[in-house]
Symmetry: C2
């Protein structure tokens, strides 16, 4: 029996049983790739066991049949500006490979020689520091699996649903293991003064991307990171140094970090005024929002995917909260009328993506899928209507509303607001 032979047209014994018994595995394990196909088709042996395989390589490559890619938006902007979205619909588990971690740039990705790069810590300190990368890498270190999310993630969803896929509605969040030095260690070493209440972090790119951070957070859990998923940071994620501010909006996680100034008030920089502020219905703007509130999204089935037919599916998605642990994710398949608890993949880590899953049998009729996250503070992810009622529609940033995916009778999946 040759398992590499083409599958016969008639139902195999296994498929017959799925149909007959109609249990967990479902009636519709039919062929057909669910996710968008990027596959090339290089020449391959009919039976790979009959030939010697290829050589082992010093640095890995994907199979030529795999092609998940980040995509940049908005399309009107040059390659140095905008967001580079993680293909969440094709991601598995909770770790995002560094090659596909989202990026947001306003002045391109600088090329930095780590031997020339310095980190300056100055301002209201007794002992200004200038540190090389080698010096920083010799200090006591720590590692942590953490999500990042751009404050502008899901900004398309304030108005009519335009983004076709979860990559473009939610792809400005990713989750990797970061390694670095506690910022508190460096601030103590520099002798930050008692009356200092903020720091201002600055990157070495063309924008500087200055951001003010309260001293309490800076002394709590902020990292000066040089490592990501076991290696050095990728250039688009801040090589050789990035400030990692767990649970806070992506932009404040300063890439290409080169200066930290210890100060006694926020600096009202471009990136915190007018950028990263939210205009409210009364004409005032919220500023220094910082924390990414509890949020979740179904990544399968999601927009632009297609279900090949009725039957068993595992609904899968990601949940996260900038206020701590994800405690619960519920799923609705009827547009929010009824909810069922999803399974959370253990271990659920504070400030990391949590993978949730729920077995589901699609009956072939129209369905609207939603997920709703509750974090350890008891905060429940709002509907879009609830969010708009409080915030209006001029916020741009911090849209953490429940996402809806409509499955049409033909199996196609669409972004809808219900």
């Amino acid at each position: 029996m040759n398992p590499s032979a083409p599958q016969p047209e008639r139902p195999s014994p296994s498929r017959r049983r799925f149909i007959k018994h109609g249990i967990a595995l479902g009636a519709a394990l039919v062929a057909g790739r669910v996710a968008p196909a990027h596959a090339q088709s290089p020449p391959v042996p009919d039976d790979p066991s009959r030939v010697v395989g290829g050589p082992m390589l010093p640095y890995g490559e994907r199979s030529p049949f795999e092609g998940a890619l980040r995509e940049k938006g908005p399309p009107s902007m040059p390659d140095e500006w905008g967001g580079n979205f993680t293909p969440l619909g094709e991601m598995l588990g909770t770790i995002t490979p560094s090659d596909l971690h989202y990026e947001v740039c306003r002045g391109g990705i600088p090329t930095i020689d780590p031997k020339k790069h310095r980190l300056l810590i100055h301002g209201m300190v007794d002992r200004p520091l200038i540190l090389t990368i080698d010096e920083i890498r010799r200090l006591p270190s720590t590692s942590r699996i953490l999500f990042l999310e751009c404050a502008g993630n899901t900004r398309t969803e304030w108005g009519a649903p335009l983004a076709p896929s979860v990559q473009f509605t939610h792809g400005l969040t990713s989750c990797t293991e970061w390694t670095g030095v506690a910022l508190s260690l460096l601030l103590r070493e520099a002798g930050a003064r008692k009356n200092a209440s903020w720091i201002v972090a600055e990157g070495a790119d063309a924008t500087g991307n200055e951001r003010s951070i309260p001293m309490a957070k800076a002394m709590d859990d902020v990292l000066v990171a040089y490592g990501q998923n076991g290696e050095a940071l990728r250039p688009g994620n801040g090589y050789p140094l990035r400030l990692i501010v767990p649970g806070w909006e992506g932009n404040i996680n300063t890439k290409w970090l080169r200066r930290i100034k210890v100060v006694d008030s926020p600096y009202m920089t471009r990136m915190e005024s007018p950028d990263h502020t939210s205009l409210m219905p009364d004409g005032k703007a919220r500023q220094f929002l910082f924390v990414m509130e509890a949020k979740s999204v179904i990544t399968f089935p999601s927009g632009a995917q297609r279900l090949p037919g009725p039957g068993f599916y595992e609904i899968k998605g990601l949940a996260w909260s900038g206020r701590g642990l994800v405690r619960r994710v519920e799923i609705s398949v009827d547009g929010g009328k009824t909810w069922r608890d999803a399974k959370l993949q253990a271990p659920v880590l504070r400030f990391a993506h949590a993978r949730f899953r729920l077995d589901w049998r699609w009956d072939g009729r129209e369905a609207v899928l939603q997920s709703r996250c509750t974090d350890e503070t008891g905060y429940v992810q709002p509907t879009l209507a609830e969010l708009v009622k409080v915030r209006g529609v001029n916020s741009i940033y911090h849209n953490n509303a429940i996402q809806s995916w409509k499955i049409a009778a033909d199996g196609s999946v669409h972004n809808v607001h219900v």
Copy 2:
């Protein structure tokens, strides 16, 4: 003040304080990359903030200044045969990037079209199954961060210490997040019979790599994995399907998985007889060793690295156990006479690499560094002498002895047996 400017030759204010106070950060934060340098030197701007940076890319690349690579051994063998060692001395945190995950091949890396690949489950079952990748990816899934370790990892250390670096003494272990389907689900679906006590797994490469696995383990925590660190498996790690057998020797984690036969006894295949058996002093061979016992190794400072001078260093390393959680790692800097507890990076996960760290001040005199792991069963990693006393020196496989790194007065680090 330009932090990108070259560091002055005279001690900076920060360095003076480290010297004066002699506290944690130590007296010797001098310049000089500790790890082996692979850096190229592309043209870079003197001040990257003065120019627009490069474009965002669909799929990431490392900085041109980073060059950690796997290395293949033994050098006498063709590229399709042997081990491809993870550069553990340059790895950070606990997650190994898929590009640098170790590989062992005996017939090269097959090229497999996932659309043509099938998984056959047959033998002592009521309903043989033939599954496509699409079908497998639709089933209930799970993800888990797990180490793999080749049974032959550290085989160089039975005799005189020849391997110069931790890459070649211990680099046949790595740790990634695997995603797939529980094998127990597939075996239940196939209707594995009550009197079936083993399975035989077979890969689609030129070797087949058949291995027998007891049914109790197969029904416990084994995965049929299609995902690694968020993406599809890499070709060298089994694309498109790999059996993942938590805590057991790497070879039994069958790559390119294409057949599982349910049987009532082990099949005594080439890969389990004579391969992966250990010849004992009495002339008998141990067989079906399976579990990778508790083990640890210091990755910094380690062989072929060099300490630039006396002062503060963080000793770093990895520990793991195929029997469950790592409970404790102790470090000796005097060749095993005295021991101190290292810090374990939280969360410590069952069957995953645990990162340990310990602050240390090197006084500039000769030192021998060792780490010793204890797992949740109470098992303590043995010295090489203890291991050899029981096992002799013909075992080849399953060498989990304490590793010693000698630091010479000039800061050079060497592999020694003490």
